[in-house]
């Protein structure tokens, strides 16, 4: 079998030499994101949807609202379900079939980023306590992988949620009237929780790696961050980070959040 191409050793060495001098192949600073492009409403059938491009990386995110039963420990709260598919369409590295670890981790990290930020008021998604609640489905599909699908997914999830409308609910029959949206938005706070991932390559900490850079990542830290508050975190891969490096990560994440917020502000009002 042809192995998928990974970044070659020579290229990797050169990337590291550059990073040590604070430079990157595409002239970005270490804490700088690529251009972000957003298009909302890419599927009329979804309650909310968007396309997010970070450089050449692209994801589609859709929000669907469904009816469900509440969990026994939260009888008065709606549910959130986040799934991610790393589609074979988006990269020769991804195969079809049941989700592999990468897709499972991605959806779980994004899920926690949204959930723990408390951006969704789940109590307002309760229809009848203990019996019927709204379930918010956030479904993420990768369309092109050029590194940093995680952060693209995080941006997409927030933008899709902020642009979503409640579907019409027939109280008598207790069903959703599909095809008819209300003007009512989802019960969201003003927070803009984003998943921002910092990568350690050699002695450098960078954000928004391209695929070439991502291949060299020795460890990554994804931080669920909203305007100065960390609400979730996940360290991935085995290389250890010192406390000082973690502090550097938090500094970079804060800068990146402001940078992204400026770029996506008009889509999340």
């Amino acid at each position: 079998m042809d192995k998928f191409q990974t970044t070659s050793d020579v290229t990797g060495e050169r990337i590291k030499q550059y990073l040590a001098k604070g430079k990157r192949f595409d002239d970005r600073k270490l804490d700088e994101f690529r251009d972000i492009e957003i298009e909302v409403g890419i599927s009329k059938k979804a309650e909310g949807s968007c396309r997010v491009k970070i450089g050449k990386t692209e994801v589609l995110v859709g929000v669907k609202m469904g009816l469900g039963t509440p969990y026994a420990d939260n009888p008065d709260k709606g549910n959130l379900m986040t799934t991610a598919e790393l589609t074979p369409l988006s990269s020769p590295r991804f195969e079809s079939g049941p989700p592999k670890f990468e897709a499972i981790e991605l959806s779980r990290v994004i899920d926690r980023g949204i959930r723990e930020s408390k951006v969704i008021d789940f109590e307002k998604l309760c229809i009848k306590e203990g019996e019927k609640v709204w379930t918010v489905f956030v479904d993420i599909y990768s369309m092109n992988d050029d590194g940093n699908l995680m952060d693209a997914a995080g941006i997409g999830a927030v933008v899709a949620l902020k642009n979503a409308r409640m579907p019409k609910y027939d109280e008598k029959k207790g069903v959703i009237v599909y095809g008819e949206m209300t003007d009512e938005k989802l019960p969201l706070s003003k927070d803009i929780p984003l998943a921002i991932t910092a990568h350690k390559i050699g002695d450098s900490i960078i954000v928004d790696p391209t695929l070439e850079e991502e291949d060299l990542s020795e460890a990554r830290v994804t931080v669920g961050f909203s305007d100065g508050i960390i609400s979730s975190m996940q360290k991935g891969n085995s290389a250890p980070l010192t406390p000082e490096e973690f502090e550097k990560v938090f500094g970079i994440v804060e800068i990146a959040w402001k940078d992204i917020f400026k770029k996506i502000e008009r889509f999340v009002k």
């Binding site: 079998m1 042809d2 890419i42 599927s43 009329k44 059938k45 979804a46 949807s49 050449k56 692209e58 589609l60 859709g62 929000v63 669907k64 469904g66 799934t83 598919e85 589609t87 074979p88 369409l89 988006s90 990269s91 020769p92 079809s96 079939g97 049941p98 489905f137 479904d139 599909y141 369309m143 092109n144 992988d145 050029d146 959703i176 599909y178 095809g179």
Partner: protein, 235 residues
């Protein structure tokens, strides 16, 4: 055919929904394309030809086409559960059969050409839109082809034949109801795929095939233009 029949979106009986196509929408793929037909949108990407894996599926006499159709969860009103189901597995194979006659697949012994088709927005005719996108992506990937294929879903609404049905028409229930007939044709008019759900007479099928040919010719022109546009060519 009754002349009085009015389509819900005001189209003529043989009028397609507005179509558009774009080639090269996925940079990391070897070939890719977007196909839009009314409110149905399909995105297809080609990876390969590459060595067939798993190895026991390698065939030294020919290459293989492996289409993978996905209805995105948010492309339909009632959320589709992610992952493969029986419907999508059947459609995978239907699409394979529809497209393979156009390819010089024997040029690639032991190889596989993977085609991923994702429906981002569904308003009926998704397999047809998927085929139209897939064949464009294959051409864009430089896979040698004998001909193009074009695909369209015809319908019989009560007693009237119409071309390119949308979701509202697919759900039509008056009179004899709705008959759904997806058809795929090569440019020289051979049928590589036909399915049917509903009821219709053999005589009407002759008209169906005539209408399908006319529609496929229209689709072909848009496919051709998208490919020419992608290399900066002029019509």
């Amino acid at each position: 055919m009754t002349k009085e029949f009015k389509r819900s979106d005001g189209r003529k009986l043989d009028e397609m929904r507005p179509m558009s196509a774009k080639v090269g929408v996925i940079p990391s793929a070897d070939g890719s394309a977007m196909w839009k037909q009314g409110d149905t949108i399909a995105i297809a990407a080609v990876h390969g030809p590459k060595k067939m894996h798993p190895q026991h599926q390698q065939d030294p006499s020919t290459g293989k086409l492996r289409c993978n159709y996905t209805l995105m969860s948010f492309s339909v009103s009632d959320r589709a559960r992610p992952g493969k189901n029986r419907r999508s597995q059947e459609i995978d194979q239907i699409i394979n059969w529809a497209i393979e006659p156009a390819l010089l697949i024997k040029n690639y012994p032991n190889m596989v050409i993977d085609v991923s088709i994702n429906i981002t927005q569904a308003d009926a005719g998704t397999r047809c839109a998927g085929i139209n996108a897939a064949v464009l992506a294959l051409a864009h990937a430089g896979i040698p082809m004998k001909t193009m294929v074009s695909s369209v879903a015809l319908g019989k609404l009560d007693k009237t034949l119409v071309v390119d049905i949308n979701k509202a028409e697919e759900d039509f229930e008056e009179g004899e109801g709705s008959t759904d007939i997806p058809v795929t044709m090569t440019h020289d008019g051979k049928i590589t795929h036909m399915q049917l759900d509903g009821k219709i007479t053999p005589k009407q099928m002759t008209d169906v095939m005539k209408m399908a040919k006319k529609a496929c010719d229209e689709i072909y022109e848009i496919q051709k233009k998208a490919l020419k546009d992608s290399i900066g060519g002029k019509e």
